[in-house]
């Protein structure tokens, strides 16, 4: 009984060894060919995480308000001659430059908020790169050299209001948004 069982198991092992031969194509002629399909599986690579990196540089942002002049009283007309309104003048360095080093296009929106209790107003004039709408549009840095990264500049000026003492006029905010 034991010998019979052994014989059956050996026969089964021999048959199992022949299975790979069944998977192959059979070449039936001399110099014949067999085609074997090679399969490939695509696994997409990981894309880079979005990383925002911009340079923001700005000038001294120093402005001088010269109060209005009453002028000179003219007794013949009972009016002041040469009266002037107050005016703002900018010192050098009222520009803002944003340079994009991100792997995505960005927009830098510019805004000005006066200090508490102040009525000063201001506006931006874009001097390079983009339409003058208070938003600096910057292309992605992918494919550019570091020294040639997309960049845009705007000039800030005070357009109204007045001050009566030295101090902080307000704050400029550069808001970076993905395009």
């Amino acid at each position: 009984m034991k010998k019979l069982l052994t014989l059956v198991l050996v026969f089964a092992c021999v048959m199992a060894m022949a299975v790979p031969a069944f998977a192959a194509e059979t070449v039936t002629q001399d110099n014949g060919t067999a085609s074997i399909t090679v399969n490939g599986t695509y696994v997409p690579g990981a894309s880079a995480a979005e990383r925002v990196s911009v340079d923001v540089s700005w000038g001294a942002m120093s402005f001088t308000y010269t109060g209005g002049s009453e002028g000179t009283w003219n007794p013949t007309t009972h009016a002041f001659d040469g009266a002037t309104n107050g005016k703002w003048t900018a010192s050098e360095g009222n520009t803002i430059t944003v340079t994009n080093h991100s792997n995505t296009a960005v927009e830098a929106a510019l805004s000005f908020a006066a200090a508490d209790g102040s009525n000063v107003t201001g506006s931006f004039t874009e001097t390079s790169g983009t339409a003058n709408d208070g938003v600096l549009a910057l292309a992605t840095a992918v494919g550019t050299e570091v020294a040639n990264a997309p960049s845009a500049t705007a000039t800030f000026n005070i357009t109204g209001g007045e001050i009566s003492e030295n101090g902080t006029i307000g704050t400029i905010t550069v808001t970076i948004k993905n395009k």
Binding site: S57, W58, A60, I169, T175
Partner: protein, 177 residues
């Protein structure tokens, strides 16, 4: 005519009260205009401490950004994903102030008007990867995602004066238990 000596005590009382009133007025005038404050006058540019969580940026490139005289320049580098762990009250983020910046910065993560986390000063050449969740935010936030902003405030490295320019960026905050 007899003097009414029975009214003498009343006049003394009135005189004393008038004198007391004069003393009180004098004290008030002194307190308002002449008293030296007990506490030192706080400076206009209060010094701030550097953030205890800041760490050096690996492979940080040298050099400095150019900026006009009297101005400033920073490189703002951050990842757009911020995670909040409510259980241990930590905020995980990535913000770097490379050595090319010539300003110290402090950052805040804000959802609408709610401050989620804020840092102390991050000096050039350093980055920050975690902050402590603000108590008020810990009570208001729930599990999920929020559109938020990262706000970067710049400070002169020597005077501590706050710069006139702030920078804001869009981030997404994911809150977990």
């Amino acid at each position: 005519m007899e003097k009414n000596f029975s009214n003498k005590p009343k006049w003394i009382i009135i005189a004393v009260l008038l004198l007391l009133l004069l003393v009180i007025v004098a004290v008030i005038i002194w307190a308002i205009f002449f008293r030296t404050p007990d506490i030192p006058l706080p400076p206009d540019y209060p010094p701030q401490e550097t953030d205890g969580n800041q760490q050096p940026i690996p492979n940080d490139q040298g050099g400095k950004l150019e900026s006009p005289t009297g101005g400033g320049a920073v490189n703002v580098t951050y990842e757009s994903v911020v995670t909040v762990d409510l259980s241990d009250k930590t905020v995980t983020l990535s913000y770097a102030n490379p050595s090319m910046s010539n300003q110290n910065v402090a950052i805040a993560i804000v959802i609408d008007d709610l401050t989620v986390a804020r840092s102390a000063l991050i000096t050039p050449g350093n980055m920050i990867k975690s902050l402590t969740l603000e108590d008020k935010a810990a009570k208001k936030l729930s599990v999920g995602g929020y559109d938020a902003e990262i706000i970067i405030y710049c400070y002169h490295p020597e005077t501590g004066e706050k710069a006139m320019v702030d920078t804001r960026g869009e981030v997404t905050v994911y809150v977990t238990e």
